[in-house]
């Protein structure tokens, strides 16, 4: 997945694709691109709210807490934190097989869609 994403995105940062370089880095091995995890959050929010997410939706304050490594099993999830008359707000995150949150952020999605 990491190598395929590098091909599609053009991001060949050696931390992602060069095992020797990454092994000598503070990450002690290759790690997944942060944008891969962001795309999973987007996929979850699109599957959940459909067009509303892409018409005024936001994924914000995404922080990379710990690296996602080859072989990790990932769960992408979230919880609603607030609902107003206009928007639903959530915390969203990606966690690994140890239950550790690797990436976390916020999502805000409009409750009505102005289609374009």
């Amino acid at each position: 997945m990491i190598n395929f994403y590098a091909e599609v995105s053009g991001d060949f940062n050696p931390l992602h694709v060069d095992t020797e370089f990454a092994r000598k880095s503070r990450f002690r091995g290759t790690i997944a691109h942060g944008h891969i995890a962001a795309s999973w959050l987007c996929e979850m929010l699109t599957r959940w709210q459909g067009a509303a997410f892409l018409h005024g939706g936001k994924l914000s304050d995404v922080r990379f807490i710990s690296p996602i490594r080859p072989g990790d099993m990932i769960e992408v999830t979230g919880e609603i934190t607030d609902i107003t008359q206009e928007r639903v707000m959530c915390q969203v995150w990606v966690e690994n097989q140890k239950g550790e949150r690797c990436i976390a952020g916020k999502a805000s999605i409009p409750l009505s869609v102005k289609m374009r």
Partner: protein, 145 residues
């Protein structure tokens, strides 16, 4: 092909703008992206499923923002080795569809310091060929010193 110059920190300053990055949203690109991130949603390839979700027809995955957001400042440069993405935000105004052309424009918003290394915040705005705003990406990157 001539190698692109490194985008060294000395070339960056708040307000710096980059040449617009243009990407065609082709069916092949959408398929490759979806496969790369293991996203098997039919919303990208089945117009009926997309319409059921409120879209006009099959869309491009929202996550392609990560590609145009990053490439918008690397069209004429290559990233120095060792850069680390530590934060991001995406905003969406309308979906990208197969057949669209996205133009993404990046600007350096702020340069600060984190643990002795430069922390660069770059914001990219994207629009489609009709001038409609697709959305924006903001990235915080610890730059190689």
């Amino acid at each position: 092909m001539e190698e692109k110059p490194e985008l060294k920190i000395s070339l960056l300053e708040p307000g710096k703008r980059f040449r617009p990055f243009v990407i065609e949203v082709t069916n092949d690109f959408v398929r490759a992206f979806a496969e790369a991130v293991n996203d098997d949603s039919l919303i990208y390839f089945d117009d009926r499923v997309a319409r059921d979700a409120g879209f006009a027809r099959g869309i491009a995955p929202a996550g392609i923002a990560g590609i145009w957001g990053r490439r918008s400042y690397l069209e004429d440069f290559r990233m120095p080795e060792g850069g680390i993405l530590i934060g991001l935000s995406y905003e969406f105004d309308c979906p990208a569809y197969v057949g669209d052309t996205i133009t993404a424009r990046a600007e350096v918003k702020e340069i600060s310091e984190r643990k002795g290394r430069p922390l660069v915040r770059i914001r990219t705005e994207a629009e489609n060929q009709r001038g409609e705003r697709i959305g924006s990406v903001e990235l915080s990157v610890i730059w190689p010193g």
